[in-house]
């Protein structure tokens, strides 16, 4: 177990370090340095001004020095300064991350509940028609773009019927509606994978044995099928973090909420490269961290993982 955990954590750190390196190299591939790009979006600037600011932020140093200085800063939580506001990038992101977390976590909880509801309804219903309808929900959820659903709901609820504000005003609906919009989108892949793996579990002989022993349909589902089908769903849940973050950016923009979405938009429009760098790194880290947690939880669901020592891919077998 200890070895497995150490291996996973090591891999996670390696991925973050590689992500940092790729971002650093990508910035070097820009035709010019971050300071010149930032200043030039406005109007003509003279070279002395650019040089001054470059010196200020360390962009005049040799590449290797910059690489290790920034890497060193990263270890101490210092990811440089936003060129647009002069504020430390960590502070700028830290100031809004709470709002995004609240949105993303609530949306995630909503997504899991929605996915489970779909799966329970589809599996336990006796009505073929209802089952057919429910089975078509996940593809529909996946197909509806976050931005479209958000715009339509706001148009109806806020502009037509006037029951909620276009702006976040702390009311129940102003959080619930964006959470629902994002949750619906994220629930789709979770529900789809869960449905597929439940089907697989039901086709296995031990279900017949349980039925023969007289177990009720809901007993089989909750005590046996769900647990055995949980692994792949958990993996896909880890992967949906990306969808969740990207969806948050869109949701926040549509609902005019403060959060990472607004910061991303600003960073990109004002060409604030250090801020963009920080955001990309943050996204990579969150992605890696969540998948690390999934990896660490996995042996609890399926002890075979430890026996095979992480070699091969037993997760796929379960699907």
């Amino acid at each position: 177990m200890g070895r497995y955990v150490a291996q996973r954590i090591g891999q996670a750190l390696l991925v973050i370090w590689l992500a940092y390196t790729v971002i650093f190299l990508a910035v070097q591939l820009l035709p010019s340095d971050p300071v010149t790009i930032f200043l030039s979006t406005d109007s003509a600037v003279d070279q002395a001004t650019i040089d001054n600011m470059k010196r200020q932020y360390g962009y005049d140093q040799p590449l290797l020095v910059q690489y290790f200085a920034q890497l060193g800063g990263l270890l101490t939580g210092d990811v440089g300064y936003s060129l647009a506001s002069g504020e430390p990038v960590a502070l700028r992101i830290g100031g809004v991350i709470g709002s995004t977390m609240a949105l993303a976590l609530s949306a995630f909880a909503t997504a899991v509940v929605l996915a489970l509801a779909v799966v329970v309804a589809a599996t336990l219903t006796r009505s073929a028609v209802l089952r057919k309808v429910v089975l078509n929900l996940p593809p529909l959820f996946a197909a509806v773009p976050v931005i479209w659903l958000g715009l339509v709901l706001l148009e109806l609820l806020s502009i037509r019927w006037g029951v909620m504000s276009l702006f976040p005003d702390g009311s129940f609906l102003s959080l619930a509606v964006p959470v629902f919009v994002l949750g619906v989108h994220v629930s789709a892949p979770i529900a789809q994978v869960l449905l597929k793996s439940i089907d697989t579990v039901y086709s296995q002989p031990f279900i017949d044995v349980l039925r023969a022993k007289g177990a009720s349909a809901s007993w089989i589902f909750f005590r046996h099928a769900l647990k055995n089908a949980g692994g792949p769903a958990m993996t896909i849940t880890g992967i949906t973090v990306g969808t969740l973050l990207a969806g948050s950016v869109i949701t926040e923009t549509v609902f005019a909420r403060s959060g990472l979405g607004a910061v991303v938009l600003q960073a990109v429009t004002t060409q604030d490269v250090p801020l963009v760098q920080g955001l990309v790194l943050l996204t990579a880290s969150v992605f890696v961290a969540v998948n690390l947690v999934v990896d660490l939880l996995y042996p609890l669901l399926d002890p075979r993982i430890l026996k095979s020592n992480g070699q091969g891919s037993p997760r796929v077998l379960a699907v």
Binding site: L30, P31, S40, A44, G86, L154, T253, S258, A262, T270
Partner: protein
């Protein structure tokens, strides 16, 4: 057909509002001896006495978190700072002249190298510091030289600045390194707003923080929720508005709440449903609906800005011959652009400067759509039609690329139409407008032939098109720069205007380095009860604004 009818009816709605606006404007001009406060001078749709009190909710396009005065010039910043910071002078769009504001008197010497400002007594910043000659000097020094310890860059319009001498408590004398006939006009810019000397002592992050900036303007910072809301409260003791402002005292409104509406699709609905009193960045397609709903469509002309242009970069060599550039200029059907992509709120460009800008010269005769002339110019330049209809020369195809930011809601569809128009004269346009990712590399790439944009220009066009690093053409044209230098040094006003006209002719007609499209305008939507006017830089004037009761 039904939609066409609807559109036509809605259009008439806009025209009616426009006609009403014109009538009101005429009435104002006739009756008001002192003129009105309006830069853009969009007269209020409501008549009657201003109502005291109330809160105006203004939806801005995107949140901004850097309010440092002179760094970047974004509308979303200027629209707030215009009400927080005063300037030495004010540009009155009605008379087209600079009028006194914090400077009660201002004048330059004959060769435009020395300027004297008399500072209004009894003006204070909101932190209690007096706005005296010392404070003005501190501000001018930062505008002219930047502030290295706070990483503040000099203001581009103050490039000739040398020093300021405090003559007495309320007089300063400014020395320039070289003549600059545009210096006075630049002091009217929001980017030359005056802040308290205590604000200038803060570091970069401090001076960027709206909560820490003290100005002498009619509104002061009250509270904010980052990226969601900014609340400004009126300053009750404000008594130093620009000379031409109708309201000489404190603002009528108690508060202004700035909110953000990045989603363009909701801007019309926000006004229609009364959730906001004013919104910036209305799409042409939404204007009719707003007007038809009894609300106001208010175009604020960007008199302080160049027209929207496709600035030409000659790095790829394809546009090195000015005949080719002239052909492209003649190959744009601007009327079709207005009819198809824009609306009645937009005015077709007559030059690179705004129609109402001082020194504007009408070049519309040279800008007529003439595809035949365009074709023969291209023939003369040696570009002949290839098999696919695209012209070629020396094995190279006449394929050109345009880049722009996504700040304007109309720029991408505009270039889509130009792409069609140029296909007829055998030119292929690759439209990368509104693609910010592409812009990051294209902005500094002289081989990307066009940059679609508009820039603040206070007087002559030297600061915009002159320097070697200018983002418009990415190239210093020697003949142009001689012209810019002569214009800056022009001693009397008539001579100066003549040279500004010369610059426009060179940029638009002879060298055709700026393919001009439409005058810059910011289209606001306002709820029926909102009374608001705009500065020559398109910023709302909250000091003179009020809301009708009920």
């Amino acid at each position: 057909m039904a939609t066409n009818d609807k559109k036509a009816r809605a259009r008439r709605g806009v025209r009616r509002t426009g006609a009403a606006a014109l009538l009101t404007a005429a009435a104002l001009l006739l009756t008001a001896c002192g003129g009105n406060a309006g830069g853009g001078a969009q007269p209020a749709a409501n008549s009657g006495e201003p109502v005291q009190g109330g809160t105006l909710v203004f939806a801005e396009v995107t949140p901004i978190n850097n309010f440092q005065t002179q760094s970047a010039r974004f509308y979303e910043k200027a629209n707030v700072l215009n009400s927080v910071l005063d300037r030495l002078t004010y540009f009155d769009a009605v008379s087209g002249k600079l009028v006194p504001w914090i400077a009660t008197k201002f004048s330059g010497n004959e060769d435009n190298t020395e300027f004297t400002f008399d500072i209004r007594p009894d003006v204070t910043f909101s932190d209690g510091t007096p706005l005296d000659a010392e404070a003005v000097k501190a501000n001018l020094d930062v505008l002219g030289k930047g502030l290295e310890k706070a990483q503040i860059q000099p203001n581009v319009d103050f490039s000739a600045y040398e020093s300021t001498e405090v003559v007495d408590e309320d007089t300063v004398k400014v020395q320039l390194k070289s003549a600059d006939a545009n210096f006075l006009r630049a002091t009217s810019s929001v980017a030359a707003g005056l802040v308290s000397p205590k604000t200038l002592e803060l570091d970069n992050a401090g001076q960027s923080d709206i909560a820490k900036i003290s100005g002498s303007g009619p509104f002061v910072f009250e509270s904010e929720k980052p990226d969601e809301e900014l609340v400004l409260a009126k300053r009750a003791d404000y008594a130093w508005a620009p000379e031409t402002a109708e309201n000489q005292g404190a603002a009528y409104l108690d508060k202004v709440v700035v909110k953000y509406l990045p989603e363009v699709a909701h801007r019309a609905g926000a006004v229609q449903s009364g959730q906001v009193d004013l919104v910036r960045g209305l799409q042409p397609a939404d204007e009719a609906a707003v007007a038809a709903g009894g609300n106001q469509v208010l175009p604020a002309p960007g008199i302080d800005l160049t027209a929207n242009v496709a600035a030409v970069r000659i790095g790829s060599g394809k546009l090195a011959d000015q005949k080719v550039r002239q052909a492209l200029q003649a190959g744009i059907d601007r009327q079709a652009l207005k009819d198809t992509v824009l609306s009645d709120s937009y005015e077709i460009a007559g030059s690179v400067l705004n129609h109402k800008a001082p020194g504007f010269v009408d070049l519309s005769a040279d800008l007529a759509y003439d595809p035949e002339k365009a074709k023969s110019l291209l023939d003369e330049a040696g570009w002949v039609a290839g098999a696919d209809g695209v012209r070629e020369k020396d094995g190279k195809k006449l394929e050109v690329t345009v880049t722009s930011s996504n700040n304007s809601v109309v720029i991408k569809p505009a270039f889509e139409l130009i792409e069609q128009q140029w296909r007829e004269i055998g030119v292929k346009l690759i439209n990368r407008a509104a693609d910010n990712t592409f812009l990051a590399t294209a902005l500094q790439d002289p081989e990307v032939e066009f940059f679609g944009t508009r820039q603040f220009a206070y007087g002559g066009l030297g600061p915009v098109f002159g320097p070697e690093t200018n983002t418009q053409t990415l190239n210093a044209d020697e003949e142009l720069n001689e012209l810019f230098a002569a214009e800056r040094a022009a001693a009397d006003e008539a001579k100066h205007e003549e040279l500004v006209a010369e610059e426009q002719r060179a940029l638009v007609v002879e060298k055709a380095l700026a393919l001009v499209l439409w005058d810059e305008v910011q289209v606001y939507g306002a709820h029926s009860g909102t009374n608001i006017e705009f500065t020559s830089g398109t910023a709302p004037i909250f000091q003179g604004a009020w809301k009708a009761e009920g």
